[in-house]
């Protein structure tokens, strides 16, 4: 009986270690493709990470909608396409998929194009937004150019593959 309990305890600890390990791995996953990993795209800044309590430092005034939707942390990095189109990639790690879904559903306009990215996504002339599990990804270009929509989608697929 004692031996059986001991085995159960070891098994429980092992499972816990695996679960925690996977959880930690996800939290620290780097979703940002390196320069050149996606054709034409260069990563032009260090990745900055903001915990929920510090999110105002990045998006003051915008932070509350993410906090109320259960954001855990936010990672952001700048990119440039062919040395011309400047882009910001924001990856919001929410507490669950429902939080990501809530943000994605907000503020969509009639000209939103549905795209096959993650669990759901939309694109505009200068931005792509999608969710995958607890992640909400927003990719925004500073300029509108004819090649921007396709280039943004390519980058978005690159980010999706790393989530």
């Amino acid at each position: 009986m004692i031996r059986s309990n001991w085995k159960l305890a070891v098994a429980a600890v092992a499972i816990l270690v695996v679960v925690v390990g996977v959880g930690c791995k996800k939290k620290h996953a780097d979703p940002f493709p390196a320069s050149g990993a996606i054709a034409g795209w260069e990563k032009t800044s260090e990745t900055r990470v903001f915990a929920a309590k510090d999110l105002w430092q990045y998006i003051d005034g915008d932070a509350e909608q993410y906090i109320s939707a259960g954001v855990v942390s936010t990672s952001t990095s700048d990119y440039k396409f062919q040395g011309q189109i400047e882009v910001v990639v924001d990856v919001y790690t929410m507490g669950d998929a429902a939080g990501a879904s809530k943000i994605l559903a907000k503020g969509q306009t009639k000209d939103a194009n549905s795209v096959q990215l993650g669990d759901a996504g939309v694109s505009y002339a200068q931005s792509v937004i999608f969710r995958k599990g607890p992640y909400l990804v927003r990719i925004v270009a500073y300029e509108s150019t004819p090649q921007a929509p396709q280039a943004l989608l390519a980058l978005a697929h690159g980010v999706e593959a790393k989530l």
Partner: protein, 333 residues
């Protein structure tokens, strides 16, 4: 000699409502054609300010600024007009907003034009400070950091040597630690905010731009930023230094703000000038409301973010200005 009470009756209401000695001279300088008892707000537009590809025409921005200031002061010559606005020998802080990145920050072309005109009015380069909360925001908005005290400085609170006051300042519901750039580096502030939709407050423009002057602005967002916006702007360390708003509405966000949302970007192609920040914000709100109506979007109130902070800012406890359209002398040029 005209006492303060008499002055209240005769000068431009916007300056009066601000209640600061620093603003009295400017109030007297405002075009005498301003209807008495009203806050003057100039909305200067140029439909060709942006090219077809969305590029801002810098020369036209400078010309639009001149037109706006001329209309506001009633002086045709820019240098003469600016002399009425800024005192000699004082350090002028230009509070820009870099939060949304280059497309929706205070445009560099506008800031440079203001700097140039200040200098033509006799302000030394060393007496001009362009500032914002975060260095990164300034750089992403296209500004070049400069700390040389012999030149125009472009600095941020999070840079080494600046930071926030250790002792908080308070009014009403707020207790904040102001940026030392505001409290120690600048004698007067010209506010250069950006007109945007705001997720919580409804609209962000003149009053709310000073969230970038405190240490923990995240704590001031409860209840649609009300009454925090009004309370913050009533603190003497800020209120007594505020001089003029030159609002950047060349590009704006009508939905999803205050972050940059290119899908909700449009070009009002306007500069909005005035000394009454409540009146300025009221007019900015109307511009966004009109755009939303054109697009069939719900009103900000229906969308759950009424601009109640404006009512508070105008109430008897704050007296920051007026949100009553009947008391706003709107000049659209």
């Amino acid at each position: 000699m005209e006492n303060r009470r008499d002055f209240l009756k005769t000068a431009a209401a916007g300056a009066v409502l601000l209640g600061s000695n620093s603003n009295l001279a400017l109030a007297a300088a405002i075009d005498q054609h301003t209807e008495k008892g009203k806050s003057k707000v100039v909305v200067a537009r140029d439909a060709a300010l942006h090219t077809a590809t969305g590029q801002l025409d810098e020369k036209r921005v400078a010309d639009l600024l001149d037109r706006a200031i001329a209309a506001y002061t009633g002086r045709d010559k820019p240098a003469e007009a600016w002399k009425r606005i800024v005192p000699v020998g004082k350090v002028i802080g230009l509070k820009v907003n870099g939060l949304g990145g280059k497309p929706i920050a205070t445009h560099l072309a506008l800031t440079l034009a203001v700097c140039e005109r200040l200098q033509k009015a006799g302000v030394k380069p060393s007496e001009i400070v362009v500032w914002e909360s975060h260095r990164g925001d300034l750089e992403r908005a296209g500004y070049t950091i400069s700390t040389d005290r012999n030149r125009i400085r472009c600095i941020a609170t999070d840079m080494e040597g600046y930071g926030h006051e250790e002792k908080p300042a308070a009014f009403g519901s707020v207790s904040v630690n102001f940026a030392k750039i505001l409290t120690r580096e600048c004698d007067f502030i010209i506010n250069l905010p950006v007109l945007k939709d705001h997720e919580l407050a409804g609209v962000t423009f003149s009053l709310k731009n000073f969230y970038g002057a405190v240490q923990r602005p995240g704590e001031l967002h409860a209840n649609g930023c009300n009454p925090a916006v009004a309370d913050l702007n009533c603190i003497p360390a800020l209120r007594d230094k505020f001089r003029l708003t030159i609002g950047d509405a060349t590009a704006s966000i009508y939905e999803g703000g205050p972050g940059y949302r290119p899908e909700h970007l449009w070009y009002p192609n306007a500069l909005i000038v005035g000394q009454d920040p409540v009146a300025i914000d009221y007019i900015g709100w109307q511009i966004i409301a009109k755009k939303r109506a054109e697009l069939g979007l719900p009103t900000l109130e229906s969308a759950g973010r009424p601009t109640t902070f404006l009512t508070t800012a105008a109430d008897a406890a704050h007296k920051l200005g007026t949100n009553d359209p009947k008391r706003i002398h709107l000049m659209e040029i």
